[in-house]
Symmetry: C2
Subunit: 141 residues, 2 copies
DNA sequence: AATGCAGTTGAAAATCACTTGCAATTAGTT
DNA sequence: AACTAATTGCAAGTGATTTTCAACTGCATT
Protein backbone atom coordinates (compact mmCIF):
# COMPACT_ATOMS: atom_id res chain seq x y z
CA UNK A 1 0.00 0.00 0.00
CA UNK A 2 1.89 3.05 -1.18
CA UNK A 3 1.35 6.58 0.02
CA UNK A 4 3.32 8.76 -2.33
CA UNK A 5 2.54 12.09 -0.71
CA UNK A 6 1.26 13.02 2.70
CA UNK A 7 -1.69 14.94 1.28
CA UNK A 8 -4.10 14.14 -1.51
CA UNK A 9 -4.97 17.60 -2.73
CA UNK A 10 -8.46 16.55 -3.72
CA UNK A 11 -9.36 19.88 -5.17
CA UNK A 12 -12.06 18.34 -7.32
CA UNK A 13 -14.11 17.25 -4.34
CA UNK A 14 -13.42 20.48 -2.54
CA UNK A 15 -14.67 22.57 -5.44
CA UNK A 16 -17.62 20.29 -6.13
CA UNK A 17 -18.73 20.72 -2.54
CA UNK A 18 -18.43 24.46 -2.96
CA UNK A 19 -20.90 24.20 -5.85
CA UNK A 20 -18.29 24.71 -8.55
CA UNK A 21 -18.62 22.69 -11.74
CA UNK A 22 -15.81 20.37 -12.72
CA UNK A 23 -15.12 20.92 -16.39
CA UNK A 24 -12.47 19.04 -18.29
CA UNK A 25 -10.40 22.22 -18.41
CA UNK A 26 -10.52 22.50 -14.67
CA UNK A 27 -9.67 18.83 -14.25
CA UNK A 28 -6.48 19.40 -16.20
CA UNK A 29 -5.56 22.51 -14.22
CA UNK A 30 -6.38 20.85 -10.91
CA UNK A 31 -4.18 17.90 -11.71
CA UNK A 32 -1.28 20.20 -12.53
CA UNK A 33 -1.71 22.11 -9.29
CA UNK A 34 -2.08 18.96 -7.24
CA UNK A 35 1.09 17.50 -8.71
CA UNK A 36 3.16 20.67 -8.56
CA UNK A 37 6.00 20.49 -6.09
CA UNK A 38 7.17 23.97 -6.98
CA UNK A 39 5.56 27.42 -7.18
CA UNK A 40 4.46 27.83 -10.81
CA UNK A 41 2.96 31.01 -12.21
CA UNK A 42 -0.18 31.19 -14.36
CA UNK A 43 1.66 30.87 -17.64
CA UNK A 44 3.55 27.84 -16.41
CA UNK A 45 0.33 26.22 -15.20
CA UNK A 46 -1.22 27.01 -18.55
CA UNK A 47 1.69 25.37 -20.36
CA UNK A 48 1.59 22.26 -18.23
CA UNK A 49 -2.20 21.94 -18.35
CA UNK A 50 -2.29 22.46 -22.10
CA UNK A 51 -0.35 19.23 -22.46
CA UNK A 52 -3.18 17.39 -20.72
CA UNK A 53 -6.02 19.21 -22.45
CA UNK A 54 -5.34 21.49 -25.39
CA UNK A 55 -8.64 23.32 -24.85
CA UNK A 56 -7.42 24.99 -21.66
CA UNK A 57 -6.99 28.74 -22.09
CA UNK A 58 -5.04 31.24 -20.05
CA UNK A 59 -8.12 33.14 -18.84
CA UNK A 60 -9.48 29.86 -17.51
CA UNK A 61 -6.26 29.26 -15.63
CA UNK A 62 -6.59 32.66 -14.00
CA UNK A 63 -10.27 32.12 -13.26
CA UNK A 64 -9.57 28.72 -11.73
CA UNK A 65 -6.74 30.09 -9.60
CA UNK A 66 -9.08 32.76 -8.34
CA UNK A 67 -11.74 30.20 -7.49
CA UNK A 68 -9.25 27.95 -5.73
CA UNK A 69 -7.89 30.90 -3.79
CA UNK A 70 -11.39 31.96 -2.74
CA UNK A 71 -12.02 28.47 -1.49
CA UNK A 72 -8.82 28.45 0.48
CA UNK A 73 -7.28 25.68 -1.60
CA UNK A 74 -4.23 27.56 -2.82
CA UNK A 75 -2.14 30.53 -1.85
CA UNK A 76 -0.91 33.24 -4.16
CA UNK A 77 2.53 34.77 -3.77
CA UNK A 78 3.91 37.80 -5.56
CA UNK A 79 7.64 37.75 -5.28
CA UNK A 80 9.67 40.74 -6.39
CA UNK A 81 9.04 41.81 -9.91
CA UNK A 82 7.55 38.61 -11.23
CA UNK A 83 3.98 37.40 -11.77
CA UNK A 84 1.88 35.68 -9.10
CA UNK A 85 3.00 32.18 -8.22
CA UNK A 86 0.82 29.56 -6.59
CA UNK A 87 1.10 26.75 -4.09
CA UNK A 88 -1.20 24.43 -2.15
CA UNK A 89 -2.72 25.99 0.94
CA UNK A 90 -3.06 22.83 2.97
CA UNK A 91 0.43 22.82 4.39
CA UNK A 92 1.03 24.78 7.54
CA UNK A 93 2.10 28.38 7.22
CA UNK A 94 5.65 29.01 6.08
CA UNK A 95 7.82 31.76 4.68
CA UNK A 96 10.04 31.78 1.62
CA UNK A 97 13.66 32.11 0.68
CA UNK A 98 14.00 32.95 -3.00
CA UNK A 99 17.20 32.10 -4.83
CA UNK A 100 17.82 35.30 -6.77
CA UNK A 101 19.91 33.45 -9.33
CA UNK A 102 17.52 30.63 -10.16
CA UNK A 103 14.16 31.89 -8.92
CA UNK A 104 13.67 28.67 -7.01
CA UNK A 105 11.86 28.88 -3.72
CA UNK A 106 12.77 27.25 -0.42
CA UNK A 107 10.18 27.12 2.32
CA UNK A 108 10.96 27.59 5.98
CA UNK A 109 9.19 28.29 9.24
CA UNK A 110 10.26 30.11 12.34
CA UNK A 111 7.93 30.06 15.32
CA UNK A 112 10.17 32.61 16.97
CA UNK A 113 9.78 35.08 14.14
CA UNK A 114 6.02 34.48 14.15
CA UNK A 115 5.89 35.23 17.86
CA UNK A 116 7.96 38.39 17.47
CA UNK A 117 5.64 39.62 14.74
CA UNK A 118 2.64 39.18 16.99
CA UNK A 119 4.41 41.16 19.69
CA UNK A 120 5.19 43.97 17.29
CA UNK A 121 1.66 44.18 15.92
CA UNK A 122 0.36 44.09 19.47
CA UNK A 123 2.54 47.01 20.49
CA UNK A 124 1.43 49.04 17.48
CA UNK A 125 -2.22 48.34 18.27
CA UNK A 126 -2.92 46.10 15.29
CA UNK A 127 -4.39 42.67 14.70
CA UNK A 128 -2.47 40.69 12.09
CA UNK A 129 -4.53 39.69 9.07
CA UNK A 130 -1.57 38.01 7.44
CA UNK A 131 2.04 38.72 6.72
CA UNK A 132 4.77 37.83 4.35
CA UNK A 133 8.42 37.32 4.95
CA UNK A 134 10.67 36.77 1.99
CA UNK A 135 14.41 36.40 2.08
CA UNK A 136 16.19 36.95 -1.23
CA UNK A 137 19.55 35.27 -1.23
CA UNK A 138 22.40 33.73 -3.13
CA UNK A 139 23.58 30.21 -2.52
CA UNK A 140 26.86 30.24 -0.70
CA UNK A 141 29.71 28.50 -2.51
CA UNK B 1 20.28 77.86 12.80
CA UNK B 2 17.45 75.46 12.15
CA UNK B 3 17.77 71.82 11.21
CA UNK B 4 14.32 70.69 10.20
CA UNK B 5 15.11 67.07 9.48
CA UNK B 6 17.92 64.82 10.49
CA UNK B 7 18.89 64.10 6.89
CA UNK B 8 19.23 66.39 3.91
CA UNK B 9 18.37 64.05 1.09
CA UNK B 10 20.66 65.86 -1.30
CA UNK B 11 19.73 63.73 -4.25
CA UNK B 12 20.81 66.42 -6.67
CA UNK B 13 24.45 66.24 -5.61
CA UNK B 14 24.31 62.48 -5.43
CA UNK B 15 23.02 62.18 -8.97
CA UNK B 16 25.35 64.85 -10.31
CA UNK B 17 28.29 62.93 -8.90
CA UNK B 18 26.97 59.81 -10.58
CA UNK B 19 27.14 61.66 -13.89
CA UNK B 20 23.39 62.18 -14.17
CA UNK B 21 22.12 65.50 -15.53
CA UNK B 22 19.92 67.62 -13.37
CA UNK B 23 17.04 68.78 -15.50
CA UNK B 24 14.25 71.00 -14.23
CA UNK B 25 11.90 68.02 -14.33
CA UNK B 26 14.23 66.04 -12.13
CA UNK B 27 14.64 68.95 -9.76
CA UNK B 28 10.90 68.96 -9.20
CA UNK B 29 10.74 65.20 -8.70
CA UNK B 30 13.75 65.19 -6.41
CA UNK B 31 12.23 67.88 -4.23
CA UNK B 32 9.01 65.89 -3.90
CA UNK B 33 10.88 62.76 -2.93
CA UNK B 34 13.12 64.60 -0.48
CA UNK B 35 10.12 66.17 1.23
CA UNK B 36 7.93 63.05 1.26
CA UNK B 37 7.30 61.69 4.71
CA UNK B 38 5.09 58.91 3.37
CA UNK B 39 5.46 56.17 0.72
CA UNK B 40 4.00 57.68 -2.47
CA UNK B 41 3.59 55.73 -5.70
CA UNK B 42 4.65 56.97 -9.15
CA UNK B 43 1.28 58.57 -9.93
CA UNK B 44 1.27 60.41 -6.63
CA UNK B 45 4.82 61.65 -7.19
CA UNK B 46 3.78 62.74 -10.66
CA UNK B 47 0.82 64.67 -9.25
CA UNK B 48 2.89 66.39 -6.60
CA UNK B 49 5.77 67.20 -8.95
CA UNK B 50 3.43 68.52 -11.62
CA UNK B 51 2.43 71.28 -9.22
CA UNK B 52 6.06 72.41 -9.12
CA UNK B 53 6.74 71.99 -12.81
CA UNK B 54 3.95 71.28 -15.25
CA UNK B 55 6.36 69.83 -17.79
CA UNK B 56 7.02 66.72 -15.69
CA UNK B 57 5.63 63.59 -17.32
CA UNK B 58 4.84 60.19 -15.85
CA UNK B 59 7.52 58.35 -17.87
CA UNK B 60 10.09 60.77 -16.48
CA UNK B 61 8.91 60.03 -12.95
CA UNK B 62 9.42 56.31 -13.60
CA UNK B 63 12.79 56.93 -15.24
CA UNK B 64 13.94 59.08 -12.36
CA UNK B 65 12.79 56.54 -9.77
CA UNK B 66 14.76 53.91 -11.59
CA UNK B 67 17.86 56.08 -11.66
CA UNK B 68 17.53 56.92 -7.97
CA UNK B 69 17.06 53.27 -7.14
CA UNK B 70 20.12 52.28 -9.15
CA UNK B 71 22.13 54.84 -7.26
CA UNK B 72 20.90 53.55 -3.94
CA UNK B 73 19.04 56.75 -3.09
CA UNK B 74 15.57 55.29 -2.75
CA UNK B 75 13.93 51.97 -2.09
CA UNK B 76 11.01 50.52 -4.00
CA UNK B 77 8.29 48.56 -2.23
CA UNK B 78 5.53 46.57 -3.84
CA UNK B 79 2.87 45.94 -1.29
CA UNK B 80 0.04 43.53 -2.06
CA UNK B 81 -1.90 44.38 -5.14
CA UNK B 82 -0.93 48.00 -5.48
CA UNK B 83 1.71 49.79 -7.55
CA UNK B 84 5.32 50.34 -6.42
CA UNK B 85 5.76 52.85 -3.66
CA UNK B 86 8.99 54.66 -2.85
CA UNK B 87 10.89 55.92 0.14
CA UNK B 88 14.33 57.35 0.96
CA UNK B 89 17.03 54.75 1.32
CA UNK B 90 19.18 56.64 3.79
CA UNK B 91 17.29 55.67 6.90
CA UNK B 92 18.34 52.45 8.56
CA UNK B 93 16.61 49.30 7.43
CA UNK B 94 13.08 48.73 8.65
CA UNK B 95 10.07 46.60 7.88
CA UNK B 96 6.47 47.61 7.28
CA UNK B 97 3.07 47.14 8.81
CA UNK B 98 0.37 48.01 6.29
CA UNK B 99 -3.06 49.06 7.50
CA UNK B 100 -5.31 47.03 5.20
CA UNK B 101 -8.17 49.48 5.70
CA UNK B 102 -6.34 52.72 4.94
CA UNK B 103 -3.24 51.62 3.06
CA UNK B 104 -1.08 53.65 5.43
CA UNK B 105 2.31 52.25 6.30
CA UNK B 106 3.93 52.04 9.71
CA UNK B 107 7.64 51.36 9.89
CA UNK B 108 9.21 49.18 12.52
CA UNK B 109 12.47 47.40 13.20
CA UNK B 110 13.23 44.22 15.05
CA UNK B 111 16.88 43.32 15.52
CA UNK B 112 15.74 39.96 16.86
CA UNK B 113 13.86 39.13 13.67
CA UNK B 114 16.84 40.28 11.61
CA UNK B 115 19.11 38.00 13.59
CA UNK B 116 16.77 35.05 13.20
CA UNK B 117 16.64 35.58 9.47
CA UNK B 118 20.42 35.50 9.24
CA UNK B 119 20.40 32.24 11.19
CA UNK B 120 17.84 30.71 8.88
CA UNK B 121 19.65 31.76 5.70
CA UNK B 122 22.87 30.47 7.21
CA UNK B 123 21.34 27.07 7.90
CA UNK B 124 19.99 26.86 4.37
CA UNK B 125 23.38 27.74 2.93
CA UNK B 126 22.45 31.16 1.60
CA UNK B 127 23.77 34.69 1.87
CA UNK B 128 21.00 37.25 2.27
CA UNK B 129 20.85 39.84 -0.49
CA UNK B 130 17.86 41.52 1.06
CA UNK B 131 14.53 40.60 2.51
CA UNK B 132 11.11 41.95 3.09
CA UNK B 133 8.77 41.51 5.97
CA UNK B 134 5.32 42.96 5.69
CA UNK B 135 2.60 42.62 8.25
CA UNK B 136 -0.90 43.33 7.00
CA UNK B 137 -3.19 44.26 9.87
CA UNK B 138 -6.27 46.01 11.09
CA UNK B 139 -6.18 48.62 13.82
CA UNK B 140 -7.58 47.21 17.01
CA UNK B 141 -10.53 49.14 18.40
C1' DA C 1 28.89 83.68 -24.75
C1' DA C 2 28.42 80.43 -28.73
C1' DT C 3 29.09 75.40 -29.98
C1' DG C 4 28.54 70.56 -29.81
C1' DC C 5 26.57 66.48 -28.59
C1' DA C 6 25.34 62.88 -25.47
C1' DG C 7 21.90 62.62 -22.07
C1' DT C 8 17.03 63.60 -21.39
C1' DT C 9 12.34 64.75 -22.51
C1' DG C 10 7.11 64.18 -23.68
C1' DA C 11 3.80 61.84 -26.48
C1' DA C 12 2.39 57.81 -28.23
C1' DA C 13 2.77 53.13 -28.69
C1' DA C 14 4.24 48.81 -26.70
C1' DT C 15 4.49 45.38 -23.04
C1' DC C 16 3.19 42.55 -19.17
C1' DA C 17 0.09 40.40 -16.16
C1' DC C 18 -4.28 40.03 -15.64
C1' DT C 19 -9.45 40.75 -16.13
C1' DT C 20 -13.77 41.21 -18.52
C1' DG C 21 -17.59 41.10 -22.19
C1' DC C 22 -20.01 38.08 -24.79
C1' DA C 23 -21.91 34.52 -27.63
C1' DA C 24 -21.38 29.60 -27.78
C1' DT C 25 -20.89 25.45 -25.01
C1' DT C 26 -21.67 22.20 -21.29
C1' DA C 27 -22.02 20.17 -16.41
C1' DG C 28 -25.15 18.47 -13.59
C1' DT C 29 -29.85 18.60 -12.02
C1' DT C 30 -34.78 17.30 -13.16
C1' DA D 1 -33.41 13.75 -22.99
C1' DA D 2 -34.33 18.47 -21.56
C1' DC D 3 -33.16 22.44 -19.21
C1' DT D 4 -30.52 26.22 -17.47
C1' DA D 5 -27.15 28.54 -15.06
C1' DA D 6 -22.19 27.99 -14.81
C1' DT D 7 -18.24 28.00 -17.70
C1' DT D 8 -15.58 28.48 -21.85
C1' DG D 9 -12.42 30.68 -25.52
C1' DC D 10 -11.59 34.66 -27.94
C1' DA D 11 -11.03 39.32 -28.29
C1' DA D 12 -10.91 43.49 -26.18
C1' DG D 13 -10.00 46.14 -22.03
C1' DT D 14 -7.15 47.44 -17.72
C1' DG D 15 -3.53 49.31 -14.94
C1' DA D 16 1.23 49.78 -14.15
C1' DT D 17 5.32 50.43 -16.22
C1' DT D 18 8.61 50.63 -20.20
C1' DT D 19 10.14 51.76 -24.72
C1' DT D 20 10.47 54.20 -29.15
C1' DC D 21 11.74 58.27 -31.27
C1' DA D 22 12.22 62.85 -32.85
C1' DA D 23 12.89 67.20 -30.56
C1' DC D 24 15.26 69.51 -26.83
C1' DT D 25 18.76 70.81 -23.38
C1' DG D 26 22.41 70.30 -19.68
C1' DC D 27 26.93 71.19 -19.43
C1' DA D 28 31.78 70.50 -20.82
C1' DT D 29 34.45 72.83 -24.20
C1' DT D 30 35.89 76.42 -27.02
Amino acid sequence: MSKATALHHDYETLLREAGVRITKQRQAILKIIADAADHPDAMEIYNRASALDASVSLPTVYRTMKTLEENGAIRRHTFEGGPSRFEHADSEHHDHLIDVDTGSVIEFTSPKIEALQREIAEELGYDIIHHRLEIYGKRRR
